[in-house]
């Protein structure tokens, strides 16, 4: 498997700040990240985490919501006042209202406990990839089956051009530009339909259905577009075969 995320082995390692009071959780995330070549910073309390972030800086923050000194959500709010660093939240809650609230409060993504380490790694990679990825990636996505050319506005599956409606293309390009990352419903609705339609989730449902159909995707076993029920959509980036 190697170390696929470290695009430039010579560059300094991306640094991840882990804020969690459970020593065992801190430990395995730390070990896993280090084994993949990332640098880590560890904090047991919210205040400690904020101090570390301010003094040493970090490319990404993994934040546990249950902290002894202050609520994770408060930590998030405080952090967002002066930093735009991507934040992945660890929570034991699985209600989508709670997730939406977290995303609204400034989190970029979330993982529900208990979770497999690969799940967290995929999220971390999704953020650090864009962060490290430069213009060299080009405006073309191609995994061998699906090819998306954002400049030519052309989409093909198995070499066959798929005609997409304007809104369908907008949605696809919005997702593809942030591969692996969660894009919230509200965000999509605002981008595509405008701020007055932020509540009209059914527009999106219909549009996603059409898009999946055209790409030959299956909602129950998605290859490209995964639904996070009640929260948003995520583009599942495949390993690239051609760049």
């Amino acid at each position: 498997m190697g170390r696929p995320d470290q695009a430039n082995p010579g560059a300094p390692a991306a640094r991840v700040l882990i804020i969690d009071d459970e020593p065992q959780i801190r430990k395995f995330i730390d070990i896993s990240l280090r084994s993949q070549g990332y640098a880590t910073l560890l904090a047991a309390t919210g205040q400690e985490g904020l101090t570390l972030l301010a003094s040493k800086g970090s490319d990404l923050v993994v934040l546990d919501l249950g902290l002894p000194d202050k609520d994770g959500k408060d930590v998030l709010k405080e952090l967002r006042q002066w930093s735009r660093v991507p934040v992945i939240v660890l929570t034991v809650r699985s209600g989508e209202d709670e997730k939406v609230a977290l995303l609204d409060a400034g989190a970029n993504d979330y993982v529900t406990k208990p979770f497999g380490v690969e799940e967290l790694m995929a999220r971390i990679r999704a953020f650090l990839r864009t962060a490290t990825r430069g213009a060299d990636d080009g405006p073309i996505y191609d995994d061998g089956v699906l090819k998306i050319d954002l400049v030519q506005r052309e989409v093909s599956v198995h070499g066959q051009v798929v005609p997409l409606a304007r809104k369908e293309f907008s949605l696809l390009s919005l997702l593809v530009q942030q591969p692996g990352r969660l894009v919230t419903q509200t965000q999509i609705l605002r981008e595509i339909w405008g701020p007055t339609h932020e509540e009209d989730a059914h527009y999106l449902r219909i549009l996603v259905g059409k898009l999946r159909h055209k790409l030959g995707d299956d909602a129950s076993d998605p290859r490209y577009i995964a639904t996070e029920p009640g929260v948003g959509l995520r583009f599942i980036a495949k390993e690239r075969q051609t760049a």
Binding site: D21, E22, Q24, I25, K27, F28, I29, I31, S32, R34, S35, Q36, A44, D64, L65, G66, L67, P68, D69, D71, G72, T91, V92, R93, K113, P114, F115, G116, V117, E118, L120, M121
Partner: protein, 912 residues
């Protein structure tokens, strides 16, 4: 505009009422024998041909073959056999008909009186129930049976018809059909024997069938039909917004109960009916009659039934009562007004109802009153110029003689003549003694005092008699020439006449004052009873208490036995025994129909109880039963009104408690739901935390194991092991919790040193959290305690684990053990963490606490402390959260009774 709309809405409502429940079609005839039954059957046959479900409820063909033939094709409901006084009679099977539920039921002879013991006294009540059940009814009735025309018919024919049908039944009317036959033909039919007449009534009815009578009745019938058609048209026009033809005007009918009150009610009702106006009947109670009524209630005087005042008063009350019942039957409202000033009371009532017309009977006009413009009529005309005044002259002159027994009756009361004589004689004696000191004119003041004294104690009439006696005595003894009734000097004449005038005026004033007081008292007694009830009901917290309070208030206010059943709860027990199954039937009926039944009503009259419905907004909540002493033949309107208002209040109170209990149920359900979700959330949280670590660590090893060094691999394996143990502890906690919660926990006590327990808990904790420092401060040489060792160790572990979680790194957890009050053990576990705010300290033992704090709850305040509380509680000890030493952190204090300490000591001493 608004009034017009309201009127339109009323009309629409009226129409709606006629459409949804059953509708009534009446075949009206002027006399028996005109062919009503025939007409009804023919119409029924027509409908049957059209496929309508028509059933004969009851039709008497009286053996007439033509009627019989028509009836034959129609389905017939078998009649019910009723045994009454040894005879077997047939009645309509009301329940059978209700169960059969045809589209249309034929019910002959609306005015029929049912055999005693039937559900309703009268057939029209059966018909109302059928209509309520949504069954259309075809029925027949003769014009003389209409309640409002009863008097007119009596006047025309001289025959008093007792079986009348209230006009209110006709409010359900869909159609009225006049079955007409010219008088001559009818008489012909009669002579041919084609008209059925009951044997015994045949003779009396012969007079009834005179050509002139029949013509008059026929005209009356036509008029009635025309009026109904008119009213119907008016209502329909209004319903369609075609504009009102008449303006609703309230008609106020005033009665005094001194003869012909019922006549007055009928006349007024007819007048209102013609105008399509609502109407009400009122009577004014002045203190005078109330005072007399009080006398009759006086137990001392109950024996002196010869007391004609009382008898007269009773008669008056009964007449008013009857008139009120009639008014309610005809669809009017009734009210008793309390005021000494009749005119003012009437004008106030008229203003309150927005009445434009006042109907009064011709009053007894005293000459003096007429001269001074003091008659009711004159006063009403003077002071109520805005009102249209209708004076109904009664057929016979109103009994003038009523006044006479009135006067003598008052003289017959025991106390008054004595008082009059004593006062007069006393005044004369004092005047005789004082004559030397006072002048002639001043002597009159002595007599005046006597008159006022009598007036203030008794009634007007006594004051007048006293005045007359004093006047005579004054004249006889003191005016020259003495010992004669002659008066010589002019001045003397003036003096005695002025005295007489002054005595009369003063007497009148004093007695009026007293009347007012008595009137107020009468009005007050109602208010007091209601107030008393309100006070008792306010205290009632549940239905049982409402019933207890309600029945006792009813019992004391009405002097009757009270029984109540609301929402299936009945009481009081003492009265329940007196409610027989027969009474229960009436009670059930009342509850179901929302109408009174039993004694003093027309329904199920053979019950000893009077049942009143307890209603909430729409549906019947229950029923109140009142059993008055057997001797009480009638119910006064005051009692009726008081009972009704009290029952209404009781209903409101019952409804209130019902709502409160519903809220309580909802609250308990909510609480249980909260507990359930708290438990679920706590379980999922406490299980997930170690699981997260285990899954994460195992996953890391699997995926990236080869990328990491051996120490890291070892560390992850350790994590899996430790978290596995932690998970096991949580599960143990859960099991403990369940056992504690099920009350099935048996303590297996043993003697053990507290230091051993603390040592064990510390070792367990340090294995899991190696970096935690724990300081022990245990009083040395403490005797062992008698507890369930495993449970107490678990409790100590939970508390210490909790403290460790809150302790900042490097700070020690302090465990201090002390013996207090000789037989108690106190264990303080303190941390130096952030501490717990005062108001939350109690709640940390609450199972909800961890949920409400969200993800932060994972520091161990989930089930852990709840279990501690359970365990310590089972040992009769207590747990509390206190601020930590030196003002920072938290101290959890466990206090345990030493258990068998004393017995341990005695065991060591060798005594049991």
């Amino acid at each position: 505009m608004g009034a017009e709309q309201a009127e339109q809405a009323d009309a629409l409502l009226g129409e709606l009422k006629r459409q949804t429940p059953g509708r009534l079609t009446v075949f009206l005839g002027a006399a028996p024998g005109v062919g009503k039954t025939c007409a009804m059957l023919i119409r029924a046959r027509e409908l049957q041909h059209q496929g309508v479900d028509v059933v004969i409820g009851i039709v008497d063909t009286h053996g007439r073959s033509e009627t019989q033939t028509i009836a034959e094709g129609l389905p017939l409901l078998p009649r019910k056999k009723v045994d009454y006084q040894g005879r077997r009679l047939e009645e309509m099977d009301l329940d059978g008909l209700l169960a059969r539920k045809p589209a249309i039921a034929l019910v002959d002879e609306l005015a029929h009186r049912n055999v005693p013991g039937s559900r309703h006294e009268r057939r029209w009540q059966d018909v109302e129930e059928l209509l309520d059940a949504g069954i259309d009814v075809y029925t027949t009735v003769n014009i003389q049976h209409l309640e409002s025309l009863n008097d007119v018919v009596h006047q025309i024919t001289g025959v008093k018809v007792s079986e009348t049908v209230p006009d209110a039944v006709f409010e359900r009317l869909r159609d009225i059909r006049l079955v007409d036959l010219p008088a001559r033909e009818l008489i012909e039919r009669l002579n041919q024997g084609k008209v059925y007449l009951p044997e015994q009534a045949a003779h009396a009815l012969q007079a009834f069938f005179s050509p002139s009578n029949l013509t008059a009745l026929r005209e009356l019938a036509m008029q009635t039909v025309a009026e109904h058609v008119d009213a119907d048209l008016r209502e329909k026009r209004t319903a369609r917004g075609l504009g009102g033809i008449s303006i609703q005007r309230h008609v106020l009918i005033a009665i005094d109960g001194r003869g012909h009150s019922e006549y007055l009610v009928r006349a007024g009702a007819r007048m209102a009916e013609r105008r399509g106006a609502p109407w009400s009947v009122v009577t004014v109670e002045t203190g005078r009659s109330a005072g007399a009524a009080q006398h009759t209630e006086d137990p001392d005087r109950a024996a002196s039934t010869l007391n004609s005042v009382a008898r007269d008063e009773q008669q008056r009350v009964m007449e008013i009562d009857k008139a009120f019942a009639l008014a309610r039957n005809l669809g009017g409202e009734t009210e008793v007004l309390h005021n000494t000033d009749i005119t003012q009371a009437l004008l106030d009532a008229a203003a309150a109802r927005g009445a434009k017309s006042i109907v009064i009977g011709r009053t007894r006009e005293r000459l003096v009153a007429r001269i001074f413009n003091r008659t009711l009529t004159q006063q009403l005309l003077q002071r109520g110029a805005r009102y249209e005044l209708t004076i109904v002259s009664t057929p016979q002159a109103r009994q003038r003689s009523l006044r006479l027994p009135d006067v003598t009756g008052e003289l017959l009361t025991r106390r008054e003549p004595l008082l009059i004589l004593v006062a007069s004689a006393g005044a004369t004696a004092i005047a005789a003694m004082a004559e030397h000191y006072l002048g002639l004119q001043d002597l009159s003041l002595v007599f005046l005092v006597a008159v006022v004294l009598v007036a203030s104690r008794t009634r007007m009439i006594s004051a007048v008699i006293t005045a007359a006696l004093c006047f005579l005595s004054y004249d006889f003894f003191f005016i020259e020439p003495r010992l004669t009734f002659l008066i010589s000097a002019h001045r003397g004449v003036a003096t005695v006449l002025l005295f007489l005038a002054a005595a009369l005026i003063a007497g009148r004033l004093a007695s009026r004052l007293r009347m007012q007081v008595v009137a107020l008292r009468a009005a007050n007694s109602h208010a007091t009873a209601m107030q008393n009830l309100g006070r008792r009901l306010a205290k009632a917290a549940d239905l049982r208490q409402v019933i207890a309070a309600g029945t006792s208030a009813l019992q004391s206010a009405l002097h009757a036995e009270a029984w109540m059943r609301i929402n299936g709860e009945s009481g009081p027990a003492a009265s329940t025994d007196h409610v027989t199954s027969k009474d229960l039937m009436a009670a059930d009926w009342t509850q179901q129909h929302g109408q009174a039944s039993g004694r003093y009503t027309d329904t199920l009259t053979n019950s000893a109880w009077w049942f009143l419905p307890v209603r909430s907004d729409k549906d019947g909540l229950g029923v109140v039963g009142l059993r008055f002493p057997l001797g009480m033949g009638r119910l006064s309107f005051e009692q009726r009104r008081l009972a009704e208002s009290m029952v209404e209040d009781i209903g409101q109170a019952a409804l209130r408690t019902q709502l409160v209990s519903q809220l309580e149920v909802a609250r308990v359900t909510g609480e249980t739901e909260r507990l359930r979700s708290a438990l679920l959330s706590s379980v999922s949280h406490d299980l997930r935390s170690p699981l997260s670590s285990m899954i994460g660590a195992a996953d890391s090893l699997t995926r990236y194991g080869k990328d990491m060094g051996p120490e890291d691999q070892q560390s992850l394996l350790e994590t899996i092991h430790l978290e596995g143990e932690r998970l096991d502890r949580y599960i143990q906690n859960l099991l403990d919790m369940t056992r504690l919660g099920q009350q099935g926990l048996t303590l297996t006590r043993d003697w053990i040193g507290i230091d051993e327990l603390i040592g064990s808990a510390t070792r367990r904790l340090q294995r899991y959290e190696p970096e935690v420092r724990i300081e022990h401060d245990v009083t040395p040489k403490l005797p062992p305690i008698h507890v369930h060792p495993a449970l107490i160790e678990q409790a100590l572990f939970n508390v210490m684990e909790n403290a460790a979680k809150f302790s900042p790194p490097g700070q020690a957890v302090r465990v201090q053990v002390r013996r207090i009050e000789h037989d108690q053990l106190q264990i303080d576990v303190s941390d130096r963490g952030p501490g717990i705010p005062e108001e939350e300290r109690r709640r940390i033992f609450d199972m909800f606490y961890s949920v409400e704090r969200g993800d932060r709850g994972k520091q161990g305040t989930g089930l852990g402390l709840t279990i501690v509380q359970g365990i310590v509680g089972a040992h009769m000890g207590r747990v509390e959260a206190l601020p930590g030493p030196e003002g920072c952190g938290t101290t959890i204090r466990l206090t345990l009774p030493w258990g068998g300490y004393m017995s341990q000591e005695s065991k060591e001493n060798g005594t049991p």
